[in-house]
Amino acid sequence: MQSNETEYGIVSRVDRDTHGVAIAARGLRKSYGPQAVLRGLDLDIAAGEFVAIVGRSGCGKSTLLRHVAGLEQADSGTLQVGGEARRQLHANTRVMFQEARLLPWKSVLDNVGLGLPGDWRPVAQAALAQVGLAERASDWPAILSGGQRQRVALARALVHSPRLLLLDEPLGALDALTRIEMQGLIEGLWREQGFTALLVTHDVAEAVALADRVVLIENGAITLDLRIPLPRPRARGEGDRAALAAFEGQVLQRVLARDGEASA
């Protein structure tokens, strides 16, 4: 089923089994003291869609993600996830942070099973196998590499079968090769499980490689919303790479053009 999609070229979202949730933000505003971070932000994300948010540091992209997670409250505006107003943390949403945030005093398996009720061990073990770390179940997090820690964090997020996965620059601290590996892993698991994915990143190439849509946030509002209609899995053949580079250029040009205006 999944492998057929690439043969048709552009992935059709409609016929994909999705258990993702839709997100709708209207006029979202948030200030920290005198500093306005979100200035009337509107954003719609379809169920099961993979959306990447890019922008410079301090543009408000992480703040938006924290609102969607329910970790922060907007000053005004509405935010709906799966048709319900999002005011607090919700069990259908899981976050992958910039740091893996594993509990160092729990084994890898215990970390994955954190907060799971009942007979959770087989479930956690299966999630670990999905990220290719089944044989590290009994290790302490301290002896894992940065990439392995983020893979454990990914397993910990996915073990809850979230309907929305929020990724807050989770690959930012990894080396280039590990990053590409992790991107492939995230893309594969997203295609398999059909959750909605919202990725915040400062790496435009990563955003273009992973997302259905790349959204640019500048000064707390959306200034570019670009669809990336490329087949999946991506970034493997020569042709793919050229197309990805073209989209990447388009986003970068936009960011840099803005800079030109500002300095002129």
């Binding site: 942070f97 740091e99 945030r101 509990l103 301290a142």
Partner: protein
């Protein structure tokens, strides 16, 4: 073959100096250079140990002293731990209690001895109270500090992953504070022995401190030195036990892992 002998040698080296000192001390005493009024010969201390062990007197004193020490420790550590949890997890409790506790902490607890004797007499309660009081503060301080220095990001993660308040405490806050708590416990063990010695020397009718004070009246320096040695050994044993707990409970932490284990 050569390797095992060099390892053996390495283990023996630290013991050279103590052995030479004890031999010198024994020689000095035997040759009459050191008066037995000042310092008994090591062999005399040894024979005092054998004599008191055989009569069962030593074991009784030892049991009583250890009982006092650990009863006081249990009470003090429990109170310190609970207070630390309370002020560490609640801003209101911190504001309400922390300043007061910090003020009381600055009073040396042994300075209260005369007052405590007036309150409780020279019975067991007085010793228990003094030990508990001395043990409480290091445990409290390190528990409070440990909880406050738990990584905020881990707490946020725990909340975001749906942990209840109790789960958050048990899975994240308590293990995160544990290294600091155990530092407090080790420190408190030191305070425990110190307080026990003072309390038993001032007012007691049993225990190792009493044994020493009693022996002093009869110029039995061998028994006095034996008592001092026993205190040292007990202190060392308690520290080894605390280190064992660290190695067991903090084995996730690379700093506490034994090389090769």
């Amino acid at each position: 073959m050569k390797k095992t002998s060099s390892i053996l040698l390495e283990k023996l080296v630290p013991w050279c100096l103590p052995v030479v000192l004890i031999l010198g001390w024994q020689a000095g005493a035997s040759l009459g250079w050191i008066s037995s009024r000042v310092l008994p010969a090591p062999l005399d201390v040894g024979s005092a140990f054998v004599r008191l062990s055989a009569s069962g007197e030593l074991l009784d004193h030892l049991k009583i002293s250890c009982g006092r020490a650990f009863a006081g420790f249990a009470v003090g550590a429990l109170v310190g731990l609970l207070l630390g949890f309370w002020t560490g997890t609640s801003r209101l409790m911190e504001q309400l209690l922390d300043t007061s506790v910090q003020m009381v902490r600055n009073v040396p607890h042994l300075a209260l001895t005369p007052l405590v004797i007036l309150w409780f007499g020279i019975g067991e309660e007085a010793k228990l109270f003094l030990i508990a009081l001395g043990v409480m503060f290091p445990v409290y301080l390190n528990t409070f500090h440990g909880i406050r220095s738990v990584d905020r990001q881990l707490i946020e993660m725990g909340r975001a992953y749906g942990l209840s308040r109790w789960q958050l405490f048990r899975e994240v806050i308590l293990p995160g504070a544990l290294p600091s708590i155990l530092v407090g416990v080790r420190f408190a063990l030191g305070v425990m022995w110190l307080t026990l010695i003072v309390a038993e020397t001032i007012a007691a009718s049993s225990g190792i401190g009493y044994m020493a004070m009693n022996a002093r009246e009869f110029f039995q320096t061998d028994v006095v030195v034996l008592a001092i040695l026993l205190y040292a050994i007990l202190g060392k044993l308690a520290d080894v036990a605390a280190k064992g707990l660290e190695r067991r409970w903090l084995r996730w932490n690379p700093n506490f892992q034994r090389a090769g284990a």
